[in-house]
């Protein structure tokens, strides 16, 4: 608070600057996109990597956690990712593969199967959708988000047509492929037109033991009366650093459900910036994280209620084993005139080890009087009474713990609307618990 903010750049910041200077000419998109990149990087440079003195990054000090900037991931040694199918094994989904930050149509399902969607490589899509303004999503001025804008290498653009109901979930799989650590910056845009229904899954995976870096961003715009289920699955390699930004604008009468499931990665931050622009929105944002070893996972939300009569619920559950650190920051802003807002936020952390750490910061910022807003936060260990009860019924201690943790995390996973995905996540949680026991 009192010391002057330094002017010295860290190795990672210098690396990013060198990297940007070198790659600037070769990055896709000319004209407006190029100046968007330049502007974003210039703005990033004035502040540098977010650190603990930046309130929104208080618990995830990137300057300390990101020691160096990895070279940009190339396409030279890309192999067909083998295990994407395993991510959503029990679900029939349309697969969209993004390898090392670029759309790989040859490994994706042909989207033409569903007449309700138009999907293309991001920059090709932008060329077709000139009315779409890239980089104006909520949260676009966040430091990590600016970095993505500067380096974005591609991804997909997707439009769900008015009134269409997309039968199969669309699974955008972000994969890192390579033998040496590198950085990738995928960016995708999804526009859901009024009245459309779609389930969208984003997954992140990569090999263990390689400290690759991912900085992804998704711009999601939901039209009036549409229904969107967005599920983010984090199965990154155990040394990976990933930051995923989601900027979402929700229109009137829309139903929006968002869920983040995280078990992978060394340092992960899921940040969601939502703006409820129309009335009578029904929204749920939730997450479940199961962490062990030295994992650091941060779920950060900023929800702006800009219109009246909206409902939002948030539920985040975190299980922390070993020396892991779980962070939750949730901010609900009720703007003036957003009367009759109903917002409830809950965050719960379960600490399984004495060395684990939970940091939670649920926040309310309210400028309208006729609202009902509340939040709750708890942190604690497994209830010994409950454990004793189960053990007195002849259940082995480890098994009793597993049952209780399963119940704890299950309450959050239950919120996933798509049955197949929900079952899949429940099974994944069971596998995680199995590995623990």
């Amino acid at each position: 608070m009192n010391a002057d903010i330094r002017a010295i750049k860290t190795a990672a910041e210098q690396g990013l600057a060198t990297s940007f200077a070198g790659a600037r000419g070769a990055l896709p998109g000319k004209g407006a996109v190029a100046s968007l990149r330049d502007d974003a990087f210039k703005r990033f440079e004035t502040q540098g990597l977010p650190n603990r003195r930046v309130e929104q990054w208080k618990y995830t000090d990137l300057r300390a956690l990101m020691r160096e900037a990895k070279p940009l991931a190339g396409l030279a040694d890309v192999r067909k990712p083998a295990d994407i199918a395993a991510i959503l094994s029990g679900v029939d989904a349309s697969l969209v593969t993004i390898v090392n930050g670029r759309y790989a149509p040859e490994w994706s399902d042909k989207n033409a199967a569903d007449p309700g969607i138009v999907l293309a490589e991001l920059f090709a899509w932008l060329a077709e959708n000139l009315d779409y303004k890239l980089g104006e999503m909520p949260g676009s001025d966040d430091q990590a988000s600016l970095l993505n804008t500067a380096f974005m290498s591609g991804g997909v653009g997707l439009r769900v047509m008015r009134g269409a109901t997309v039968a199969k979930p669309i699974h955008i799989a972000h994969v890192f492929s390579g033998d040496a650590a590198a950085a990738m910056y995928p960016r995708s845009v999804v526009v859901v037109e009024p009245g459309a229904h779609v389930t969208l899954v984003e997954s992140f995976s990569g090999p263990d033991g390689i400290d690759y870096q991912v900085n992804s961003a998704l711009e999601l715009s939901i039209g009036e009366g549409a229904r969107v289920d967005h599920i983010k699955i984090g199965y990154d390699g155990n040394a990976a650093l990933r930051i995923s930004t989601l900027g979402v604008t929700v229109g009137a009468k829309a139903t929006y459900k968002d869920f983040a499931y995280t078990t992978g990665g060394a340092v992960v931050r899921n940040q969601t910036f939502a703006r409820f622009a129309g009335e009578r929105i029904d929204a749920f944002i939730g997450g479940a994280s199961l962490l062990k070893n030295k994992q650091h996972v941060d779920n950060t939300l900023v929800i702006a209620h800009a219109a009246a009569n909206c409902d939002s619920r948030e539920l985040f559950k975190t299980v922390l084993d070993n020396q892991s650190h779980g962070v939750f920051q949730g901010k609900i802003i009720v703007e003036p005139h957003a009367q009759k807002t109903n917002a409830k936020m809950m965050t719960r952390s379960l600490l399984l080890s004495d060395e684990a750490e939970a940091s939670q910061k649920p926040e309310l910022e309210i400028f309208a009087d006729d609202v009902v807003c509340g939040h709750g936060a708890t942190a604690g260990a497994l209830d010994p009474g409950l454990k004793f009860y189960l053990m007195s019924r002849g259940i082995h201690e480890k098994e009793a713990e597993t049952l209780l943790i399963q119940a704890f995390i299950g309450e959050a996973i239950e919120e996933v609307a798509h049955e197949g995905i929900r079952d899949d996540l429940n099974l994944a949680a069971l596998r995680w618990l199995g590995a623990r026991a």
């Binding site: 608070m1 600490l351 940091s359 309210i366 009087d369 939040h375």
Partner: protein
């Protein structure tokens, strides 16, 4: 509900009319030259006739302060403070040799009488038969930069309790002062605390020896009178092993157009099995309806539960000040120690409140409880900002937090910013917060029973803050309850 003309008028006048402590005492005073420099620090130290170590300590704080920057993280917005355009020391001109209360300037006595603070012991004792069990209160009255009177000194002395102005304590008990001053709030803790360390003038010093239960409530009454003057009081309370004390603090200031700075530091220390109960009714001048004038209240309050089984309890009723920036905290260092924070913060007009607490669990089996009630009306902003943290070794730490906000009117804001950090699995933290407006049903029910809208609001609000009011000592609870109804007068319509 449509506003009746009467209410509209009252709202218009509210911030000026309601503040009944806004008078000025016309009294000759002696001031340090305007501005802040090493010379000002030397001047204050010389005025207090302080030993060399104290001056050195102040100068060091001042030099440190020059390198610091004003914090900006709180949700308060105020014009930049010109530290060079204020007086840092102001004292009523004294008659030589002030030996008894009779020699205190009658005008000052009159002032305190007007404020309802009795300074004459005989007056308090004479005449009326006191009801059985009624407690007496010893008062230290601080007027601008100096303490003008301290009552019941003799009686307290018999009990072994030291209760005197800080400046006297530095002379008479330098060892205690040296040992404890800045042991809870370090000199360079924050911008305003460091400023206070450099220029603090008076405040109370309390030491309760081992095993003593202080025979009466102690209290300090702070009054800013002089224009353009800041008040920088410093309070230090030590409860030695097994001791108990209940301390009350009250504050008011005249209505002035300019903003005045109040930057206080309060340090509490409890040893084994000791308990301190600290209550505040803060009623500085809040400024007028347009936000003109008012006190900038930047206060650092911290208690250190140093011994095992010790307890510190903060209770505050915040109704005044244009800006409130205040976070009474507890460091729960001793095993089984307990911290409590009960707060009612009411903002009206254009007041801005950013207040809360920190509960830092370091010892084993420590518990803390936070009950915070924020009420915002008019165009005010009211923020609760709190931290609860359990250290890795603080096994079985337990916290319960409840912060509720009530909004009256659609132009005010209520915000909640809690930080909850658990670093070991046996810590159990629970936090809940809610924000709402007064339920129409409740108001309807009351009005149906013949109450006016304002009476109904006052009733509901009193119910809302009841949990905290119950924690206040009797004398204060009545006063606080009145204050709350005045603060909200005219806010319904």
């Amino acid at each position: 509900m449509p506003a009746v003309q009467e209410t509209v008028d009252r709202v218009r006048q509210i911030d000026v009319d309601q503040y009944k402590y806004g008078f000025v005492t016309d009294i000759e005073s002696e001031k340090a030259p305007i501005g802040l420099s090493e010379d000002t620090v030397r001047y204050i130290s010389a005025k207090k006739n302080e030993p060399a170590w104290m001056l050195e300590w102040r100068l060091e704080a001042f030099r440190r302060w020059l390198t610091m920057r004003e914090p900006t993280w709180a949700r308060v917005d105020y014009p930049k403070i010109d530290y060079q355009n204020a007086y840092y020391y102001s004292a009523p001109k004294k008659k030589p040799q002030l030996s008894s209360l009779d020699e205190v300037d009658p005008q000052i006595l009159e002032t305190y009488k007007k404020l309802g603070i009795p300074l004459r012991e005989q007056e308090m004792l004479a005449g009326v038969v006191r009801p059985e069990g009624e407690r007496r209160v010893a008062v230290d009255a601080v007027f601008d930069s100096v303490s003008v009177a301290t009552t019941f000194k003799e009686e307290l002395k018999r009990a072994g309790v030291i209760f005197m102005p800080m400046s006297e304590a530095i002379q008479e008990h330098p060892d205690l002062v040296k040992k404890y001053l800045c042991s809870v709030v370090p000199v360079n803790d924050n911008y305003f605390a460091t400023l206070n360390s450099a220029v603090f003038s008076d405040g109370s010093f309390v030491y309760i020896p081992p095993g003593v239960r202080c025979p009466m409530e102690l209290s300090t009454y702070f009054r800013i009178n002089e224009a353009n003057t800041g008040q920088f009081e410093r309070t230090l309370i030590i409860a030695d092993k097994g001791a108990y004390v209940s301390y009350l603090e009250g504050c008011t200031a005249p209505m002035r157009d300019e903003n005045q700075l109040h930057a206080a530091v309060v340090e509490l220390v409890t040893h084994d099995d000791a308990e301190i109960k600290y209550s505040t009714v803060q009623n500085w001048y809040p400024g007028d309806a347009d936000g003109k004038g008012g006190i900038f209240n930047f206060v650092t309050k911290r208690g250190d539960c140093r011994g095992k089984n010790s307890k510190i309890s903060w209770t505050q009723v915040e109704t005044g000040s244009a800006i409130t920036w205040k976070y009474p905290s507890c460091i729960l260092r001793g095993d089984n120690s307990r911290g409590e924070f009960y707060s009612i913060a009411i903002s009206n007009g254009r007041q801005q409140v950013d207040s809360g607490t920190k509960m830092i669990h370091l010892g084993k089996n420590t518990t803390s409880r936070i009950i915070s009630k924020g009420i915002s009306a008019g165009k005010s902003n009211n923020t609760y900002r709190g931290l609860v943290t359990a250290h890795r070794k603080a096994t079985n730490a337990r916290n319960f937090t409840n912060c509720d906000s009530l909004l009256i009117g659609d132009q005010c804001g209520a915000h909640t910013v809690p930080y909850i950090e658990a670093k070991n699995s046996s810590a159990v933290f629970e936090h809940e917060a809610s924000t709402s407006k007064i339920s129409e049903d409740m108001l309807f029910y009351c009005r149906q029973r013949g109450m006016s809208a304002e009476e109904a609001t006052a009733l509901v609000v009193n119910g809302f803050v009841k949990d905290v009011l119950q924690q206040l000592p009797m004398e204060f609870a009545v006063e606080a309850q009145k204050l709350i109804s005045i603060s909200l007068e005219g806010s319904v319509g």
